[in-house]
Symmetry: C5
Subunit: 306 residues, 5 copies
């Protein structure tokens, strides 16, 4: 996630980091050269004049507007739903911690509560690692007892097994008389929520926007852009390269942003800062049980939280 | 569901598998020939000049944009709601399994828990088979006791009867003192969720977008496309076939994609991978109760999960 | 609801049943004649040339797009919300039946459970009749005891009184020791849902889209269509009637569809098949309690479920 | 709320009551005169020709479409959310009544139940009066005991104090052994819902769409309309006043409708019929407890429910 | 939040306070001067004619419409979700107060209830101060016991620790026999809601709309506006500055509004009136427990609630 301060309106026109310009610059350059060529030959190919005009592009604009508009909102919805799920993770782990402290017979500083809180924190990192396909061992080792780390090593759905452990923790509390049936049901309600969060993230991660849409939009955008110089050269002459690149910049940049945010759990600049959120969760839960909290997360790269 | 890796922007322009191009190619070909004919006769039919121009098509574009935009989002909403329901199925079957292990007097490996988990897995496959109108016998036989298989044979709403069996299982647990009233209510909450999932899927499957919309949109798209050559021939001459086919490609391809995804439970390339999800559910539940899990599902056709 | 199979793309162009064409044909015919007249007099009225051109209609297109787009999605949302409510009815009546069988001391085949299930079925038909303003007596007589039929005869909110009866049924179960407090709360949760469904349907039925919108849209569409021939005659000559009728078809057909679906509980071709859903509910509940289920509903009119 | 029957398509073109035409007629008249003047002077002001054309207005159309489209859907969402909240009020008061009859030790006709039902009805009217800033004394006096009326006289949040009274009623039931803890929780769930309804209505009433939007849209619409004659006079001559007034009618009428419905709790023609809904709630609750219900509400003004 | 009364349609055209005009006036002025210059040189730069026309800008309009439309609705959704969360805060604190009075063994005026209500009020202010990054000490000191104020001084997540205190309050009530398990669960349900509210606000505050969008939109708007004079000068001559400034006003004003409301918790004129809502919550809770309520909040600046 990019965390620049909003500049004043003028400086913002010249932002480089946090813009998609670097990524699409080569394509825009190629298009610029094509446009200059088209102006040079006056829109002719091998002596044949290409008879295009802006009207044809207006007709194409209808389809383009629908595709881009749709893909943009569908991608942003995925991004924002992903963020909501991780917000819910912060919410529910806090609620479970509050329940462990104030609805059981345990006290805030007790060993049992600490075990439970560490399960919650490990669950958070497990989900992050699953979504980013990275190795959770390091985080597991500092948070969980060795035998559980062992047991999780080859598991396919690690966060789910951690949820099961939390269920066992509550059950043990019930068996030792620290938690009654009704309180168990209250815990269970929030464990169901955690299950929702895992499932929701897996859904977003495993089911992209139908591939056929991306292909269709992609083709339409690029064909449109590379035909455009022929459509404009007769009416705006040597301004053609400038306007073509401007139009293409808007379309390609949008195509590029949405490709980033439609998979919100990755590590590209506009993706969600799962790492930062995980650390916030850890800090907040530790504060609740009176433990020292690690220093606030600082962006490792300037402007970017990962 | 198509599971290609996203190519780089250039290769993606020439994707064949996972594009709808193959399906609509004959129609685009026909339209190309018509356009070439129109260019050849200079837009005349039996000596009568057809006096059309792009302005008329701009007016038609308003209606077309509304129809396509609406049908596209309505279809995608159906697709995504279907996916959410199957995501919820994964979530709720896991939650029920967690409840069976950690809120009852049964242990994870006990015969009773296995019976319950098999009911959940059978429920999943039953729903898949109902939505795809295929025969669930094979899956039932490997998961359920023979008398239940028998009883389900001629049933009309099989997943619902399996839900009833789960209710009986919980009731039996209560009668034998393994489950108390409050825990029964917690189970019941998640059984209600499963009921929601069945009903939601049945709703999407049984109530398409009103047929009249499809007819209206379909007619508008095709009439528009086949009139278009006459509107463009005067201004863009021999480029007419190219632009007409380009415009028609965008409209027909969209019409074709949305027709696929508005019935998301089928087996067309862009439909939901119900088979893969069912197998994920089976794997995840078995892992939770400590059973060996079958090897991860591999796509049977290249690029496509069914 | 129209239940045609989706034809291939070519046949679909000539569908008659299930298209709104029959309904708007007279108006389109009138418009065709007006257009022919306008072409004949070359856009003059009593020697005065009407100086219109497509540009004016492009400006009007902005407002038209907003009105049509808005009214279309608002109407479809009402249609789909109505469908969701009836889907929830299927879901909740099944859940209540499951609760009656597996959470009380009654068995599936007992007289008490049958009484309850018949209350649920009667509730379904009562809601259907209330929404369609038809007489529920016939359905009540075959499902309910005579004194209850009597009591409901003059009631104004019949489904609500049936809900109260269900509440009494649960209360009786509690008094006779078949249902405990916690199970009563679980029943109560689903009875609240039924209350939501009744209220939701009443809301849609009693509060249309503000009338002023319909008037505004309607006027804009028709004034637009009948002015259009004057705007096109100079540029497209004798093609004017064809294009005008094509444009008008798209707008009038949409106006016509949305008028049908914005009141989704009626009996027009595109309305919800309340009858079919009610019969599905009846069949599903009877199957759950082991009763014989009536033969599946067959469409009474070809292509149409009512 | 306007409750006209939907006329046939032809009569609907000439509806007067229930259209916003009366309200904006003076402005349209002024614009008509300006347009006639512009035609008369051939688009010149003091010998200076105003050189405008439709193209400039097409560019402005983009912003106008976004503003109008956004403000329209945001306003309608407020209207429809308000309606949903009042629908939920009907639902929840019915559910609470059902609970009072079938989950407590009281009988339907008992004095205690009547007291509770009157609290619910008074709550409904209190909310209506609060939203419309009218005096609830008359309704309170016929429904509540004198000392409670007294106590509410100077209260700032009257519905909330009535909610507290309902809480006390349930508590008293618990203390006298008529209601157990679990049933109290079921009541509490629905009392929370009533709290949601009050808060939701207060939110809509106290937070309009940001004022700056309205100013921006308003200015754009009027500046656009009064510049339009200069843009059209050269191309459509004496038809200018007609087309300008037509375009302006669509924009001003929409501006006018959304201003009405964005504050849905008022008493303008398109606002919600809070009075009618309150009386429906009263009738439905009284019917449930076997009391005589007042005669159905009849519209006091023809076509309009307030 | 701006709280002007809606003026009549004519006066509203000349509103100054509560319009964004002051903020963007310098930029519009600069653009006006540029446009006048372009008219003066007849669209030539150093003897080179800039050959632009409106058609190029129509093509750009497609992208602009998508960007502006998307950013506008995404920002408004954030604003409105923020408002909903603060509405929910009012709702849930009232519900918790009602529960404290009517579901525990405490009476409305008891010291314990007052302690709880003050925790709720302090929670509200703590959230406000966290979101606005201001110092909560003053509010804490008048509401909380000194040792708790001390404990919160260096806490990072203050509202969460207050939530924990509420949990302890309920637990103490349970230990002293004033609150039973079921009532504790009812409290817990609403404490979970408060946790949702904190998390929801933190989510909106910490995750802006991806920065890349803002950069892209911003650039497109300004480049479009400063190129526009060259596109219009040939067709509308000396009217160019007027129309350019009009078009630019609509785009820049929208860009400016959405930048304000997408961070809804700040103190700019169109932001949410968190201060006013906090005081309403305080007043409402105090009224419920029979305490004197502070005088109603009056806007400190004319027209603006902060």
């Amino acid at each position: 996630m990019i965390v620049r301060e909003r500049e004043n309106w003028f400086k913002m026109l010249f932002v480089w980091k946090g813009s998609v310009l670097p990524a699409i610059l080569p394509r825009l350059g190629a298009l610029f050269l094509v446009s200059v060529g088209v102006v040079y030959v006056q829109g002719k190919l091998f002596e044949y004049k290409i008879p295009l005009n802006p009207a044809a592009f207006t007709l194409l604009g209808v389809a383009l507007a629908i595709f881009l508009g749709f893909r943009n909102s569908a991608s942003y919805d995925r991004f924002w739903e992903g963020r909501k799920l991780w917000g819910a993770l912060l919410i529910d782990t806090r609620s479970l911690t509050r329940q462990a402290i104030t609805m059981s017979g345990y006290t805030a500083g007790s060993r049992e509560v600490l075990v439970f809180v560490r399960l919650l924190i490990a669950f958070t990192y497990a989900l992050k690692h699953q979504l980013r396909k990275t190795d959770p061992q390091e985080d597991f080792r500092r948070l969980l007892p060795p035998d559980l780390v062992q047991q999780l090593q080859n598991a396919r759905f690690k966060p789910i097994l951690l949820l099961r452990e939390m269920g066992h923790w509550v059950q043990t509390g019930k068996e030792t008389g620290k938690i009654d049936s009704i309180t168990q049901a209250a815990f269970d309600h929030n464990l169901n929520q955690l299950s929702n969060i895992v499932g929701g993230c897996e859904r977003i991660a495993s089911t992209p926007i139908p591939y056929t849409y991306s292909v269709l939009l992609h083709r339409t955008v690029y064909l449109y852009c590379f035909l455009l110089p022929f459509g404009l050269v007769d009416s705006i002459g040597w301004m053609t390269p400038l306007i073509v690149v401007f139009v293409a910049y808007t379309f390609m940049a949008l195509d590029s942003i949405v490709t980033e945010i439609e998979e919100p759990f990755g590590t590209e600049p506009n993706d969600l800062a799962l790492n930062a959120i995980s650390q916030t969760i850890e800090a907040s839960l530790l504060e609740m049980v009176g433990q020292e909290i690690p220093p606030a997360l600082r962006p490792r790269k300037k402007f970017i939280l990962d």
